[in-house]
């Protein structure tokens, strides 16, 4: 199935025009956004099948900036293995699914990464009753992991570096691999620590029976990705995300954005399109930032609502706080 999707997509003819993605999606009236098959807080369909979560809101903001409507997105659930071919073959226009930015993906896979939206690190989830306190004690463990991820590679690296043995159980569907872990097939489940928190809370019958070990064995800068060969589309995605971050830094929120239109701050006037020009340069409406903040909210609001203090996951801002507050979230200047 995947094979046919891959070959079908790669064989298909595509017009070789500069910046075709924006033209294509404006004509279609919507774009497709590749998300996870279901990870609490990041991207999960509700009982009506409507996707919600941190990664979903990134695509909503993009939709609001382009169409002035956050709902013009078609969400395509993708497994870790399907995601790159889906993007390469044009089945989706953007991946917003906790993909780690690596050199090899940036080059060999032909991807372009947008700014990092979540700084994460890989961790280990184990049952409390095993009595494990540190990842260094995991010698001989059976480890559940998703295939085709950086996680799978970091896992091998970590055990090699520490001269420990392990047995991987590799299952493609996130749902199946998580079920296998909770059924006791594996001693350990490993993925980004935000994902571990989501799985522990969302899937364990009693979350208190499981602990996330303190070690973070890798850097996982999670960023949306687009295809190479369309610089305009890459720029739009970049700046839509920077605008979300800049809005938080400048104190523009969903609730006060209308008041902010009357602000005297030249920076805010430029961002919100009161002083025109920024949107036009991107090929968008000058109201692009106003629309995304009004309809979706700024970066901090998106974080809190889905995965932060205002959500069941209650993840700390940590590295994902604004640079002004000791974090790594740093928007390039919008001017």
């Amino acid at each position: 199935m995947l094979a046919f999707a891959v070959l079908g997509g790669i064989f298909a003819a595509r017009p070789a025009v500069a910046g075709p993605t924006l033209d294509k999606i404006k004509q279609a009236g919507s774009f497709s956004c590749g998300v996870q098959t279901g990870l609490a807080g990041f991207a999960q369909p509700d009982s009506q099948g409507v996707y919600a979560g941190f990664n979903v809101d990134i695509c909503k903001a993009l939709s609001a900036a382009i169409f002035g409507d956050p709902g013009k997105v078609k969400y395509v659930p993708l497994t870790a293995q399907q995601r790159f071919t889906a993007l390469q073959s044009g089945e989706v226009d953007i991946l917003s699914n906790n993909t780690t930015w690596t050199l090899q993906r940036d080059t060999e896979l032909g991807l372009n990464f947008a700014p990092v939206v979540f700084f994460d690190g890989q961790g280990f989830l184990v049952a409390k009753k095993l009595g494990v306190k540190s990842a260094k004690e995991l010698n001989g463990a059976t480890v559940c992991v998703s295939p085709g991820t950086t996680t799978e590679l970091n896992l091998a690296d970590y055990f090699r570096a520490n001269k420990m043995e392990y047995k991987p159980v590799v299952i493609e569907k996130l749902d199946e691999v998580v079920s296998a872990f909770f059924a006791g097939r594996c001693d350990v489940y490993t993925t980004d620590s935000s994902g571990l928190a989501a799985v522990r809370l969302g899937r364990a019958s009693n979350p208190d029976d499981y602990v996330i070990l303190p070690e973070r064995i890798s850097k996982e800068p999670l960023a949306p990705a687009v295809r190479q060969g369309d610089e305009q589309w890459h720029d739009i995605v970049d700046w839509v995300i920077y605008a979300l971050m800049q809005a938080e830094e400048s104190g523009i929120t969903k609730d006060n954005v209308d008041d902010m239109l009357k602000s005297d701050d030249p920076n805010i006037k430029r961002i919100l399109g009161v002083t025109p020009g920024m949107g036009k340069d991107l090929g968008l409406d000058d109201k692009w930032v106003y629309n995304e903040i009004k309809m979706v909210g700024n970066y901090g609001e998106i974080f809190d609502r889905n995965i932060g203090a205002g959500s069941p996951l209650k993840l700390e801002r940590g590295l994902n706080a604004q640079w002004t507050k000791g974090g790594l979230i740093y928007a390039m200047p919008i001017r």
């Binding site: 032909g110 001989g140 590679l153 091998a156 690296d157 590799v170 296998a180």
Partner: protein, 396 residues
Amino acid sequence: MTSEEVSLSLTPPRPAPWRDPKIRGIVYQVVFVVAVVGTVAFLIHNMLDNISRQNIATGFGFLHKEAAFGIGESLIAYSPADTYGRAFLVGLTNTLYVAALGIVLATVLGTVMGLARLSSNWLVAKLAQVYVETFRNIPLLLQLFFWWGLLNSTAPPPRQAWQILPDVFVCNRGVEFPVPVASPAYYWVALAFVVGLVLSIVLRRAAKQRQMATGQQFPTGWATLGLVVGLPVVAFLVAGAPLALDVPVLKGFNFSGGEAISPEFAALLLGLVIYTGTFIAEIVRAGILAVSWGQSEAAMALGLRSGLRMRLVVLPQALRVIIPPLTSQYLSLTKNSSLAVAIGFPDLVSIANTTMNQTGQAVEGILMIMAVYLFISLAISLAMNLYNRAVALVER
């Protein structure tokens, strides 16, 4: 004049070129070939164009790069420091292993069930029928999930493993069992087995010749058993009968030592064997029913004993019906083994998928998968066709 006119009317007049069947045929073939070649060329051109525009890497150079991912079970030595090529080989051996074992077991199960359906015992026949009708009509993928879920959820964790035999444990990590510690004695045993096999073939030839010449029979069955089983046993005893076992012991999280059958492998093998067995049962039943009762009666009239009757009269004719569809079943079993990817057994497809995703070289990966399955399938077909030719009735 008249004779010339007659001969003219006998050879049909040459039709216009667009009506000439010969010319038409050639034109159609040329158009067809151009269409096929053109379409393929168009697709390949597009593919190369898209790949180069998106800066995706191409070529098979990735096979020499370090794979850097772990594989759960492997018949050959493998570590994450090995290459993608080696990882691919691990997947290939895993696929061949499960397929070969599956083919043997499915044939045994299918033959038993096929004969059981023909049994005069009502209960046996009905049970076989229920087996066939149930498992034949449930999608294989669901069956795999069922067996895998069953093995995962019913078996206890390793620390509470069930000990079913001395040193044999069942837990949700699989079945752990002891294996003999490697010793040179086992090479002698293997050698003795091969020698026994060769000797028994020679013996059978000689016995047949003697029977042809003198009519006297020789008990080849017992002699073969003695050679094939007896010789290795003698070799084992002579080599000092090393009985040391590598026993599974609970150490830390899991058992170490011995060998293990993982739940993934067990579920895959069980699913493939039980599913394919239903089809083979029906093929065997059909084959035997295809030989008319008159053949058996004729054999009885010649005074053949029941074993010889089956071997010399019924089976050769039944096999002629059985072998061709059986080949298809072997092929589908092999190809169905690629469903392993759903339950996490590291078969060829699973490892190729991971490789494709880590390297981004989907086209190369899929070409390799297709080439391998094509090769395996052709090999099975060839072997079965040779066997078919050997057992086919020689018609005069």
